[in-house]
Subunit: 112 residues, 2 copies
DNA sequence: GCGGTATACTTTGTTATACGAGGTATACGC
DNA sequence: GCGTATACCTCGTATAACAAAGTATACCGC
């Protein structure tokens, strides 16, 4: 789906964190994983994803490690850290609250 | 609740539109209405709300009318327009998709 | 050994948005 | 006349998602 540009803001870090938490991933793989798992709802470009990964790593929420076996394209595999896991929990909670708030406000008008 | 700054982006127009749709409102009243109806989840400041109202009006999604009876503080009452109603429907649909996408991605990791 | 395609990572510039902080002005109770 | 609640307005800041463009390696058919 094509979202209004601003609607995704603040959610991307969370669902990226969640996806990495489930399975260690490198960037390029993550682009496809996100699209697949979300049934096509989220389709981040590489220009969006990579900078986010760098930032998450800088914050210590994920840890990247170069993984270049011989005869293989070198790639950076990320896995979630304990700190990242705590952040994910906090973010998920915030997300639930946002959803609840929206349900309270949208409920009435959309069911008219 | 205190949200990460960016999380609300893109959602505010939608829930403001929804609230105005339910009942014509002026700005100051809307600040309280939003807080009340969302059970304290959304607490927009006036510095956030007013500029959004101007923008929604400029786009023709809401229509404002000065309402200053004698012996009363003048105030601008907004009501939703037919165009605004269509926009609200579209935004609500986007919101549902976002929620669905997040559920797909967060589901696995948060239930671990 | 040559060309095309998929993989994999990187950087830059643009646009817009929520928010805090500050400001103005009127009604009303006491 | 004084404080408080009401009501509106404006500016500056931070930052986030994205498109677009670029680099470079592996693999496959021929």
């Amino acid at each position: 789906m094509r979202f209004d540009r601003e609607l995704l803001k603040g959610t991307t870090e969370t669902f990226i964190l969640a996806t990495v938490a489930e399975m260690p991933c490198h960037g390029y793989q993550l682009v496809k994983q996100l699209k697949l798992k979300s049934e096509g709802i989220f389709q981040l470009g590489e220009g969006t994803l990579y900078p986010i990964l760098y930032k998450l790593e800088a914050k210590g929420w994920i840890a990247g490690k170069w993984d270049g076996g011989t005869g293989q394209r070198r790639r950076r595999v990320y896995r979630i850290t304990p700190l990242g896991r705590r952040q994910l929990a906090a973010r998920s909670e915030q997300w639930s609250e946002l959803v609840r708030g929206m349900a309270l406000l949208l409920g009435a008008s959309t069911n008219e």
